[in-house]
Amino acid sequence: METVKTNNYEVEVKNLQISFGKDDVLTDLSLSLKKGENLVVLGKSGSGKSVLIKCIIGLIDPDEGTIMVQGNNISEQDDNNLNLIRSKVGFLFQSAALYDSMTVRENLEFPLRRQNTVKGKKLTSLVEDALENVGLSDVIDKMPSELSGGMRKRVGLARTLILKPEIMLYDEPTTGLDPITSTEISSLIVHIQKKYKTSSIIITHDIACTKNVADRIIVIRDGVCAAEGTYKELENSGDPWIRSFFE
């Protein structure tokens, strides 16, 4: 696979445009993610944040614009290359997306089994470590339906981290959780960034989480990037609409 790194951006989105039928969701969005950085994306519900990161991983094809992941144009890859790129990108779904019909253990083993590299004892210990990482060693043999929302999120996170991704995409990691669990997850995100040197895009409207994790923030409005800056800069923005996120 050609890995021409044109610059040191891990993810680079240029002039992204997406519409579903008559609704324009994103009209002209550009962003870039630097190596080792936590980039938070803020925006109202329905502003197209989930759509944006689904484009980055190639689940949705954009109408216009280019998306480069580690220097590779996502929409030009064949299936093999796409899988190779995806294996370096972790995706935490808004709904955790645990496989209902499998236990927690099987959920975590599933992406590893496919890769066929680890087996037996090593697989078991990898799974146990991953769960311990998110503080959930005791649920290993439960079904997803027996877990609370926060536990599901954390299991989802463990399932993603088990592949040791270089880039993480978090879709609302703390939404719907109590403040204590939210803080735990925020610290986990920072911990992951430090420990594995991952670069992450974090989508959220939880301002406490933003404060904890963000190195840089962009705000989406009307399908474009309306503002960009650090937490401090945006908090004191001249635009009352942007400031309203931080209240």
Binding site: R86, S87, P111
Partner: protein, 258 residues
């Protein structure tokens, strides 16, 4: 004018649906013979489709055999042909009633189950999650289920035929005294190759289409929890209808050869 418009829209939707189903079918055939094969998931689905349907298929088969025998007897007695009873029942069960009843039950139980399951996997982003972790969800979810129904439903039909004949034997014995060996001899004398094989081929098609429609409806369900119910529902309706259509076509084709 409005009426005409609705008809046009309905027609267009119908043809769009047929087009999508066709490309779904093509995708299935493109992937079914290409490794890697998902044997574990196939085995699990076969267990769910086959083993878990045994009680329902068995009970309905038994009752059909019993009732059919009881209903047919008076007419045959009127014609003085009571001794034909086992033969007639066996023929109608094996040629028609066994496969069709089993298929209809499976369209209801298996088709709706598959439709709802896949639709809810879609709503909860499980299919997307598979895709991002490098697993081909179409192969893992759709191909395994269609192959499982295609192979399991003929087996269920054989099982159902067998149980129905037991029911019939019981019913014959309510009014008259026929030994099991005599009953079996009468049944097998009446049957030949051209009764059994076409009916199993027919069952294979029933199974294939029940799986196909269930998967198609689930996989293409519109997002949202409402879509889950709708997918399950339309999977049953379309699959049941297709069972009758296939049955009709099969009858035409078989009659060409006999």
């Amino acid at each position: 004018m409005n009426q005409a418009n609705t008809t046009v829209v309905a027609f267009r939707n119908f043809f769009q649906e047929v087009g999508q189903l066709t490309s779904f079918l093509v995708k299935f055939f493109k992937q079914v013979f290409v490794p890697p094969y998902e044997f574990d998931e196939f085995a699990k689905q076969s267990f769910i489709v086959g083993y878990k349907s045994l009680p329902l298929v068995g009970i309905t088969g038994f009752i059909m055999g019993l009732v059919l025998t009881i209903q047919l007897r008076p007419t045959l007695v009127d014609f003085g042909a009571e001794s034909w009873l086992p033969a007639m029942v066996a023929l109608s069960i094996i040629r028609e009633i066994g496969p069709v009843i089993t298929a209809l039950i499976c369209a209801g139980k298996v088709g709706s189950g598959i439709g709802a399951e896949i639709a809810s996997m879609k709503v909860t982003e499980q299919i997307d999650a598979m895709e991002v972790s490098g697993i081909n969800p179409f192969k893992y979810i759709v191909v395994t289920r269609i192959v499982a129904t295609t192979l399991m439903i003929p087996l269920l039909v054989i099982f159902s035929d067998f149980i129905a004949l037991m029911g019939s034997f019981l019913a014959v014995n309510i009014k008259s005294d026929v030994s099991i060996t005599l009953f079996i001899t009468q049944v097998f004398d009446s049957l030949d190759f051209m009764d059994v094989i076409p009916s199993l081929i027919k069952a294979l098609f029933f199974g294939f289409f029940i799986g196909l429609i269930g998967c198609y409806k689930g996989y293409t369900s519109s997002n949202g929890t409402e879509g889950v119910g709708a997918s399950a529902n339309s999977a049953v309706v379309v699959a049941s209808l297709l069972v009758f259509i296939i049955d009709m076509i099969a009858a035409q084709i078989t009659s060409l050869f006999t």
